[in-house]
Symmetry: C2
Subunit: 576 residues, 2 copies
Amino acid sequence: MKWLVRVDTRSGKISRTEATSEEMRWGGRMFIAKVLSREVPPICDPLGRNNKLIFAVGLLGDTPITTSGKLSVGAKSPLTHGVKEANTGGEAGKLLARCGIKALIFEDAPDKPMPRVLKLTATGAELIDAPELARKLVSETFSLLRKQYGPRAGLLCIGPAGEMTMAGAGVSVTDANDVQVRYAARGGLGAVMGSKGVKAIVVDDSGAEPATCMDPAAMKDAAREFAQVLLADPKTDNRHTFGTPAILALANELGLLPTRNFSSGSFEGAEALCGETVAKVIAERGGEGRSGVRCLRGCIIQCSNIFPNPSGKKSVASIQYENIALLGSNCGIGDLDDIAELNHLCNEVGVDTIEAGAALGVAMEGGVIPFGDAEGAKDLLRQIGQGTYLGRVLGNGSVMTGKILGVRRVPAVKGQAIPGYDPRALKGNGVTYVTSAMGADHTAGNGFETVRTIPPTGREGHIKSSLRLQIRAAILDSLGVCLFVRPAFIKKPEFFSRFFAARYGWKVSVDDVIRMGFDVLKTEQEFNRKAGVSAEFFDVPEFMRTEPLPPKNALFDIPLDEMQSLWTQEIPENVF
Amino acid sequence: MKWLVRVDTRSGKISRTEATSEEMRWGGRMFIAKVLSREVPPICDPLGRNNKLIFAVGLLGDTPITTSGKLSVGAKSPLTHGVKEANTGGEAGKLLARCGIKALIFEDAPDKPMPRVLKLTATGAELIDAPELARKLVSETFSLLRKQYGPRAGLLCIGPAGEMTMAGAGVSVTDANDVQVRYAARGGLGAVMGSKGVKAIVVDDSGAEPATCMDPAAMKDAAREFAQVLLADPKTDNRHTFGTPAILALANELGLLPTRNFSSGSFEGAEALCGETVAKVIAERGGEGRSGVRCLRGCIIQCSNIFPNPSGKKSVASIQYENIALLGSNCGIGDLDDIAELNHLCNEVGVDTIEAGAALGVAMEGGVIPFGDAEGAKDLLRQIGQGTYLGRVLGNGSVMTGKILGVRRVPAVKGQAIPGYDPRALKGNGVTYVTSAMGADHTAGNGFETVRTIPPTGREGHIKSSLRLQIRAAILDSLGVCLFVRPAFIKKPEFFSRFFAARYGWKVSVDDVIRMGFDVLKTEQEFNRKAGVSAEFFDVPEFMRTEPLPPKNALFDIPLDEMQSLWTQEIPENVF
């Protein structure tokens, strides 16, 4: 895993170079932060010729470690106008690693982007015109690609939203069995891909050499032990059984569940949407429905599911907490089948469910359709794919929707929609949304895991905690492992050193790894500073400082300058 | 002229306080810069509760000096997100001055803005619900207000675009005879007015004391002499005869006339649109048509016109260079009657013609209608007033239109459309667009007046020249006089001292005045720095650095950091 493949999307020229020794030390999110900083002018047009779209495998992407192989996608974001990394499960990351490809970098842009497919193998790369894929939905695209490129290929693509460069568009990936669609959803990276005239990427590892570790036996031992530690953690079992919706009941109880465009933190229909109900419905309906599904080969957590419709046919895979929160309670929609269909429609047109759900909530507040109108919401999501003017507005996200409809209450920070944790009732996440270079992104440092130790509506402890969580996330995102393996690293941080030694022969201490995570964050902050999107300019939405959130009637009251002080702090103790 | 009237648009409470001695020294644009800096959080939502909308009379607003009485309107702009001042002729400024009102400040905002009228008199102020004005066009609104408030009242209002808080909305004003509609057009101030729930302002000076000067005789002498100097300048005569369209032929010859979404700097139909043609058509058609019309009582330049349709009925008053450039050549439309109607439609729905024309050009490039489709363009402008989704997109300006339609070539700087001077062929204006706190705004420092002394496509001399022009503009905008009186001040800068001495009894040197202008600019820059919209983050559009502009095939090639150096320079010599 040493190749960097660069595709000039204007001339069509493709080059393949070996990573330098410095670049070899970068992976996933870190690779993106470093290359954007080195090569992309921070004030460039995110959809213009100077932005670059990067796919980077994590540092441990070609190992047998469970969940390794998550793929980081990054660029300057058309939504936040800052650095953006979104990572995803699915097969493509692992296959890129198997082809020896560390990163794929799309450069420049054609004047008139037309759909093309980039085909990657262990030895070559080809950019192929694919007019037949124009404006195709994601499932149609994958189905056509599967026919053409065979069962072995890893597939990534954008939907019509990405082709139309809508700032809410994501990049989708298939899993091993074409059952799930996974997404590098946030920040509009699908729009950047669309601006480059790339509809899909096909990765075929036929004939690739098997990946090698410096010390395969040590890697095997460490990976096995890591899995055991992880399996012993009760969180793993909970995620396996109930998936990410496991947290919904608690989110509702804590009064932080987005409801009707963030006008309440608790939803009267929460019980019908919680993890227990999801699991029960799946079990009762049977058919294609299943809990405990993998998004990545070799994952032992298996938090995904296949959510069936009443006849047992797959409605969407996988239904998750954020989707239920944003497309469900946030839209006043309390029926899981409706939410599953809305989720599926987002996956089909190719938009981030969080951004789309928030945009729908804003549109409902703006009177386009009433709260709770599931059929109306489905129609609006279809309009995104059709590219109607309203559809284009919604597909460009919650902030744009608010501007066009004249709605002032827009739940977004730095241009990006707030995920399923209202910062008024979980202040740590407000700190993360404001201070992270990623904008409103729970995966950048999710305070939900601290609700039992740091009072979520209190004012104390959130800044240090957010910084700690942000460093953790930056590390795991750079290794290319799922955030859900965190418990194993917390229990035994020495796994970092063992993994690096076994994979690369590097001597790396836990402190080195923590410093690496901090360096990733600082690099991202510096890019954003030069891009003009520092934390000092973007607070939580004004209404969250003046409008108490029922039922806890919490306000967000941490001053902006106090939050900014996060970036003047030293690395806290006990990151791992 | 010493009263500050503050209207709390949430509670409806109105207060009236006397200006402090410090505030007495602020007028027009300077008043806005100072009060925004003092009272408005730079990162606030421009359409939210923390922004303030300010109407400020210039320091010489209550004098007999020709063109005095221009009214400055300002706020944090929803288009640029920085400080914005747009000033306008029309009767309202003079009438406010006559009522002794130095400035009017709208504060806070209602949750659900409904149309209201603020009625101002010499002694009182009243906020009146006016549901009958909801979504009324500008002419309908003025007509209803005129009936209700009588022939003497000065009227300001917003159109439906402002009510729907579209970021391209302006604030319109009547002239003395209800013939012309003038606009504080740029930067979306109409949207800010809409967000405050204020549809119109009525100023009735019945019973007001006549304005007094410290030394009326000296003022009379100075004002008379000033008018004579101005009348002796050949530019004045040219403006009187041909209006602002006088410059079109030269703009076309220099290759800087926006044509088909800034893809050319010269238009094959320019002759049919130039000042000579405008004057000829008006003279030939007769009827209500007239050249040499005043927008402000007492103006001796009289650059306005009433443009008649073929039957001699008023089509629009006044047709001007920017409107012809942006709604005409920039849209590939070469018929003056079409342009007049487009101009009128902008005035009716209440949007800035420059922003709307640029948005139409982008929409044409995006394939919504073809270039040259005048009927299609009229329909699109009507849609702004109707609030269709496409209309809302267009009404929110060129940048928003580009985002929604996926068009990369968007002629805007800092979110605001570039006026009728392509910076590739007039580099001084590129410098102004980038460095001015106002964004792409020719009135902030128009290099067109230097085309004979500084080669417009050359790289030299533009930075110092732009700074000089920006200081001049800031001074005149703070005095409340038209930029077209500049020649008289250039010829005899001592008029500044004479005016201040006669009006206020102040001893003010020309250098003091120049320092005042520089201070206004620095104050605005500082607001923008805190708002995150400094020049360092906003270059000219990328395509202007890579796509040569025919017929001169000029590129914009002044580096951004060189332009930024403008704000590290000392005050240049010969500002006046």
